[in-house]
Amino acid sequence: MAEVVVNGVKMMAPPKELEREPLVANQRSLGWLSDAVAAIAERPTPKWWWWGFGISVTLMLTCFAMILYLMSTGVGVWGLGHPVMWGWAIVNFVWWIGIGHAGTLISAILFLLRQRWRTAVNRAAEAMTIFAVMCAGIFPVIHVGRIWFAWWLFPIPNANGIWPQFRSPLMWDVFAVSTYFTVSLLFWYMGLIPDLAVMRDRAKTKLRKFLYGFFSLGWLGANRHWSNYEKAYLLLAGLSTPLVLSVHSIVSLDFSVSQLPGWHTTIFPPYFVAGAVFSGFGMVLTLLIPLRKMCGLEDVITPRHIDLMCKVTLATGTIVGYSYAMEVFIAWYGGNPYERFAFWNRAFGPYWWSYWIMISCNVIFPQLFWFRKVRRNLAVVWVLSILVNVGMWFERFVIVVTSLNREFLPANWGYYVPTWVDILTYAGTFGLFFTFFLLFLRFLPVVAIAEVKGVTPQADPHHPLGGADRVPHGPEAGH
């Protein structure tokens, strides 16, 4: 074994074949991590931020204007009509909520699986989850028609004395989505507490000192506190894991509990969850590849992180491909002529183009991630990640629209086209999403500073860089 010197500490390097790419590149120190991440929120606002923020706010206001128009005029401003009574609103709802799932997968499931690389991306991915769920939450509320009665969805006593009807999956959805949003927010905030303390300790202005100080709750980094904190973190991860699996399962029950051919299938819950994680990782890649450049975080979010996320995308994309194949097989094998027709109609009916966009973006293109060369080419990964987002939107479009447009009686067949209001409302939710995401970039630490510090070799008390050589090896040194 060869001897190497890192930051003035002599140590033995592992043999070549056992060497792993470090999680933080260029042997950055603990202090550098604080400086690099906090600097993003401390330096003067860059020009690109203002451009992005301006465009996002404009789009967000467009979304609000469209909602106002819808409320004042009625659901007729959308392209909905017999037989397609569920259109873009539900497509967008399912798409946005699915995107959120990657954030929870990274923060909770990868934590339970001890994937240490998650620390570099979990904060931004969790922020993405929260903002995506906010965008998602708009659609079920505005699609009810009489929006001013949307509060009837919640078990609040009202003048009619009637309660919500809990045998309907739509009510389960209300509980799943609102719990998902709340728990994601709690988890995100708890992760932020130690990093807000970092920001507090660095703050120069009075206002920053007050705000970061207030929200960090007086965090000191005491080990007695860390002990409870880590337990709470583990518990939240343990609770979020069944939560995230249940949320998209329940969303899928909105469809599969009905008796419509194309919706009434038992494969929906796992298939929806895999699709959600797939689309979410697509979005994480879309966001983080430019972000690491613009924020100077190349040493924290390294090509290895991108590589690993591509592998998750490939795995979930392949599960999605399997589900498509299984759906088609069961439609044929099940022998139900209506079911068979629904799937024939999907692939070769009037919406054939949406089906084949879905297949190519979700099943075919992600197969390129088998190649290391592709996974390491950030420009190609970025383009593929956008295709994943496109493909997953079309998946929901295919499920919702093609199952409805040709129902049992040919006299009731129709062709659904969205209106400009549908399109602008959807585009507007991107404004809402990016307004919040840019504000997050500007004021909060985008990387979980304390967690990334914890996975560096300098943080390991049994590593030479963590000072293991400087202490005498007593009988307890191994503890």
Binding site: N228, A232, L235, R470
Partner: protein, 179 residues
């Protein structure tokens, strides 16, 4: 430093997690009770080095989860079976199966609140005032330094002995923190 100020404790600075861990083991063995290690991230093995017991946050989560599940089931039974029964599609007015998904979500919701608030209650947070927060050097505790503070309130605290102990364990900048 005014003479009227009461001291809070003796603070020593360490460069690496290994030194802090080693020092914590020695302080634990001396039988100190009111002391703590401050670090920018949780140091692996520090709980054992300090002799801390398993955290009690789990109990808060458990109570939250059980409350959530019970509340969900009772709520749905009360609303759909007791207070205003409506027959829908010949389904039973109350069934533990259709009531399960919302109750499951409430289990997780209240369990999560239990975890966060349990952590805050056990840590006595929020506490926006603390003698250490006033100390200029302590800002490094969230950056890249490690601190051990032995409080004056500790029954075994003798200033000279503690100062000597912290120095002998490799602690730098050993100084008194004012309350």
């Amino acid at each position: 430093m005014s003479e009227s100020a009461t001291p809070y404790g003796l603070m020593a600075e360490f460069e690496t997690p290994a030194e802090a861990l080693h020092a914590a083991q020695a302080i634990r063995d001396r039988g100190f009770r009111r002391w703590d290690v401050y670090s920018p991230f949780p140091v692996h093995g520090m709980d054992k080095a300090m002799g801390l017991k398993n955290s009690k946050v789990g109990w808060f989560t458990f109570v939250g989860g059980v409350t959530g599940y019970t509340l969900g089931m009772l709520m749905i039974w009360y609303m759909n079976k007791f207070d205003y029964p409506i027959l829908v599609g010949g389904k039973p007015l109350f069934s533990p199966f259709s009531a399960f998904p919302p109750s499951y979500e409430l289990t997780i919701l209240l369990g999560a609140f239990g975890a966060l608030f349990g952590m805050l209650i056990l840590n006595r947070l929020p506490r926006w005032y603390h003698p250490l927060l006033k100390h200029p050097r302590f800002k490094q505790a969230s950056h890249d330094k490690f601190y051990i503070v032995i409080e004056c309130a500790d029954p075994a605290y003798r200033e000279e002995e503690v100062r000597e102990l912290l120095t002998s364990l490799g602690g730098r900048n050993v100084e008194l923190v004012e309350d």
